[in-house]
């Protein structure tokens, strides 16, 4: 019964997240088309935060995840020596499921938490009120550049994470199962693997939008003290995790 009681709240939060994401997209598009120099400058600020800085953590994480998957596959190969099905499945699962989920979870940790904290700080510093008082749309100004940077980060993050995961996977395959690099590269760069990577990119787009919507919906809630900002960030992280895992499970189930 308690779950049912929370359902209207959950639906309202999902609606708010979607509405804020759409408004951020349309507002940023309007600003870009109008040649708003400030929007370009804000984009330049958002790019390192959402695109380049996460790579320092994301790439080692992807390589380690690849190494874990590669170790499991290498043990299987040592037992059964079924190279074609194992390596094909490994490349597909790595590029279609593991890399996108990893990047998605990382996006959840960085995008949703950063947005919730930023919006909370802006509300506390009365910057949202100031934007309204200036007759500007706060959503387009506060969220628009971040959304553009997050969308831009998707192909970059998934491609580089996939490369790191493939390399990470190749090390245990070579050491434990004696799979040569050219052979593994042949599977990882095959037509099927490219298709899997494209599917992974689609998944990551969904995960990133979920993380963005959750971060903006949670961040838009009223903030009364600095401590509230920390609480909002934790809420955004946990809600984002749930949302991304739910989306991954539904996608996998329906595929």
């Amino acid at each position: 019964m308690d779950t049912l009681k929370g359902l209207p709240k959950l639906l309202a939060a999902i609606g708010a997240g979607l509405w804020l994401t759409l408004r951020a997209a349309s507002g940023m598009a309007r600003r870009t088309l109008a040649g708003d120099a400030l929007a370009q400058r804000q984009m330049a600020q958002a790019l390192p935060v959402h695109v380049w800085r996460p790579l320092r953590t994301l790439l080692p994480l992807a390589a380690l995840a690849g190494a874990i998957a590669g170790t499991g596959a290498a043990r299987l190969l040592a037992l059964y020596n079924a190279q074609i099905p194992v390596l094909t499945a490994l490349a597909a699962i790595l590029l279609r499921d593991i890399a996108p989920l990893l990047v998605g979870l990382f996006a959840c940790g960085s995008v949703s938490v950063a947005l919730a904290a930023r919006l909370g700080a802006m509300a506390l510093n009365r910057e949202i009120d100031a934007l309204e008082a200036l007759g500007r749309d706060p959503v387009a100004h506060a969220l628009g550049p971040s959304l553009a940077a997050v969308l831009l980060s998707i192909p970059i993050h998934i491609s580089l994470a996939a490369v790191a995961a493939v390399i990470g996977c190749g090390v245990p395959l070579g050491l434990i199962a004696n799979v040569a690099w050219p052979l593994w590269a042949g599977y990882a760069l095959s037509h099927d693997a490219a298709q899997a990577l494209l599917t992974g990119m689609g998944k990551l787009l969904l995960y990133a939008l979920i993380a963005f919507a959750v971060g903006s919906a949670v961040g838009a809630k009223p903030v009364r003290s600095p401590a509230d900002i920390g609480r909002r960030a934790i809420t955004a992280f946990t809600a984002g995790l749930l949302g991304i895992f739910a989306a991954a499970a539904i996608w996998t189930g329906l595929a």
Partner: protein, 228 residues
């Protein structure tokens, strides 16, 4: 002549407390009105109501011929864009420079906009801080930036909440600068302050906000030699 800002029987109840009670106020073009009230009297709520940032519990607020609680969000923003506002406390965007905050308020680029911003920065002694991020400014510089920003769009109506708070040593010069930009150009002013003397110096109609009610008082009651 229609009022630039009109409160019609406006009340505001928040959390069961009646913060504002049956407020009636009309600000015509060129008029300068001060609302004097102690800290916590509800001046901040009055400012938020005047800009449509909160909806009144009853009554209506009209800004630039736009009914704020009935108009669309875009209509409200257009009405607000015709006002110059300086809120109490920090209201600059911390991750933008002083010049970018001004450009954001002006909403246009180009050489004319740049000249206008440069002139205001010079008048408010901010030319050295133009490229400084707003979150790195001193309290006085922030206040001057907020005041300069209020004038950047050549507004018909100024709404200033404790405009010289934190200005300290430059307070008199700043007040003179603000007066020069308001009085000769016949701009309307809604001043929200605790400082009765300042209110009497800058405004020609004074009100006191007490227990949520707006009580008119003569300028002569506060400072005999009130000048405009």
């Amino acid at each position: 002549m229609s009022a630039l800002l009109a409160f019609d029987h406006v009340s505001l109840v928040i959390g069961g407390a009646r913060l504002l009670d049956q407020i009636d106020l009309a600000l015509e073009p060129g008029e300068r009105i001060a609302i004097i009230g102690e800290s916590g009297a509800g001046k901040g709520w009055l400012l938020k109501l005047a800009l449509g940032l909160v909806a009144p519990s009853s009554g209506t607020v009209m800004l630039m011929d736009t009914l704020l609680d009935q108009g669309s969000a875009d209509a409200r923003r257009l009405a607000r864009a015709r006002c110059g506002v300086a809120m109490q406390g920090a209201s600059l965007l911390g991750d933008l420079s002083v010049e970018e905050n001004m450009r954001l308020a002006l909403g246009s680029a180009g050489p004319r906009a740049a000249r206008r911003i440069d002139r205001l920065l010079l008048e408010f002694a901010l030319e050295q801080a133009a490229a400084t991020r707003a979150d790195a400014l001193s309290v006085g510089e922030r206040r001057r930036t907020e005041l300069a920003r209020a004038f950047v769009r050549d507004p018909e109506l100024l709404i200033l909440d404790e405009p010289f708070e934190g200005a300290f040593a430059r307070g008199d010069a700043l007040e003179a600068q603000v007066r020069r930009r308001i009085v000769p150009q016949k701009r309307a002013l809604l001043l929200l302050t605790q400082d009765e003397a300042l209110a009497a110096r800058l405004c020609n109609r004074l009100y006191r906000l007490e227990r949520g009610r707006l009580l008119q008082q003569a300028a002569a009651e506060t400072v005999p030699a009130a000048t405009s």
